[in-house]
């Protein structure tokens, strides 16, 4: 190993062994000379001054995690709003919010009550119909419209942010 020999990395016995071998081996002496010349060349490579300071600006490392965080939250919120919208649409389509069964039951009870000349006027089932007898109507259409608006706005914001991040990434990989 000529390279550790040049760097003084051989132990005393290895070094002596190497020196005695070099005395009798012209090829190794030639190789040692050439290797030393190579190493000396590398030692003469000058250090370049950096083109700018690499000092870190006060808020420099923080924007990236913040952007990642806000992008993540935005994506999750959009997904939740979209799922809610789908749920409400599905519910609307299957008349889930119209209290169909309760209405039917109330109608039956009304019929019964009519038959009993209005005795026992209290309606005990208050699930979708308040005790006072007024039916609660879910504002399904308004909910749907509002959620649709939220999904469109959030979806748009997510798409814009995603585009910006992608362009930023392309720029970073080009530079």
């Amino acid at each position: 190993m000529l390279s550790p020999y040049i760097d003084g990395q051989l132990g005393p016995s290895d070094r002596e062994g190497m020196e005695s071998h070099l005395e009798g081996c012209q090829a190794c002496r030639r190789e040692l000379k050439s290797l030393r010349a190579t190493v000396n060349l590398l030692h003469r490579v000058t250090m370049v001054s950096p083109p700018r300071s690499f000092a870190i600006a006060k808020a420099a490392p923080k924007p990236l995690p913040a952007a990642v965080w806000s992008f993540g939250v935005l994506r999750v919120t959009t997904a939740v709003a979209a799922l809610l919208l789908v749920f409400i649409f599905a519910g609307d389509a299957t008349h889930l919010f119209e209290g169909g069964l309760i209405e039917e039951r109330t109608a039956q009870q009304d019929t019964l009550m009519d038959g009993e000349d209005g005795e026992d006027g209290e309606v005990s089932d208050t699930g979708g119909v308040p005790a006072g007898g007024e039916e609660y109507v879910w504002p399904v259409s308004e909910l749907e419209l509002a959620l649709l608006g939220v999904v469109v706005v959030l979806g748009g914001a997510t798409a814009v942010l995603w585009q910006r991040r992608r362009r930023g990434g392309e720029r970073a990989s080009k530079s």
Binding site: P4, S34, L42, H43, R44, V45, T46, P51, F54, P61
Partner: protein, 182 residues
């Protein structure tokens, strides 16, 4: 301020103290990156990434050679940049010359040194990254074997072997341009 104190304060979040460490080491880190990547803009990116990573991870520095710790981070940044450069095979070596110290700066010597510098750049770029890193750390940055072992996370035996093989390849490459040797 002493280096240990700067490191301690940087660990407590003092950015000014960390930036003093940046000022001390940026030349060495930039040159390591430049010689590893042979591309000035990639070297700039690797150096900046290394200092960002070092700032974020300085709490994990457990003492020993700060330079070796920093170089280890820089070597990882260079590895990332090398991967990125490999994905863009059209990117060539930059024209930033590799200069050699010279005692006799005659015009002939200048031209010869310039050519020799280019040859060294090409020879370094042709080395496998592990050998290139070991040779640069030893012969250009001037680290000892123990420090190189810390930077690369390899045993002393592996470091010796990489330096030995790397230098042998460089010698072989440069032998073919023997006329450039002084």
């Amino acid at each position: 301020m002493e280096e240990d104190e700067l490191i301690q304060r940087a660990k407590e979040g003092d950015l000014d103290c960390f930036n003093q460490l940046v000022e001390r080491y940026q030349r060495e880190v930039y040159n390591l990156s430049l010689r590893m990547l042979s591309n000035a803009s990639a070297a700039e990116d690797a150096t900046q990434d290394a200092f960002f990573s070092a700032f974020r991870g300085i709490g994990k520095f457990r003492g020993g050679s700060f330079r070796a710790w920093l170089f280890r981070i820089a070597a990882n940044s260079c590895r990332d940049q090398l991967r990125s450069l490999r994905r863009r095979p059209t990117t060539s070596m930059d024209d930033l010359p590799l200069e050699l110290e010279s005692d006799q700066p005659s015009p002939e010597d200048f031209a010869m040194h310039r050519e020799l510098g280019e040859e060294i750049k090409r020879a370094l770029a042709a080395l496998p990254p592990d050998q290139r890193l070991a040779v640069i750390l030893r012969d250009i940055e001037g680290l000892d074997y123990e420090e190189i072992s810390q930077v690369t996370g390899s045993s002393l035996g592996t470091v010796k072997s990489r330096i030995n093989r790397g230098r042998a390849r460089l010698r072989h490459h440069l032998e073919q341009r023997r006329e450039l040797f002084p």
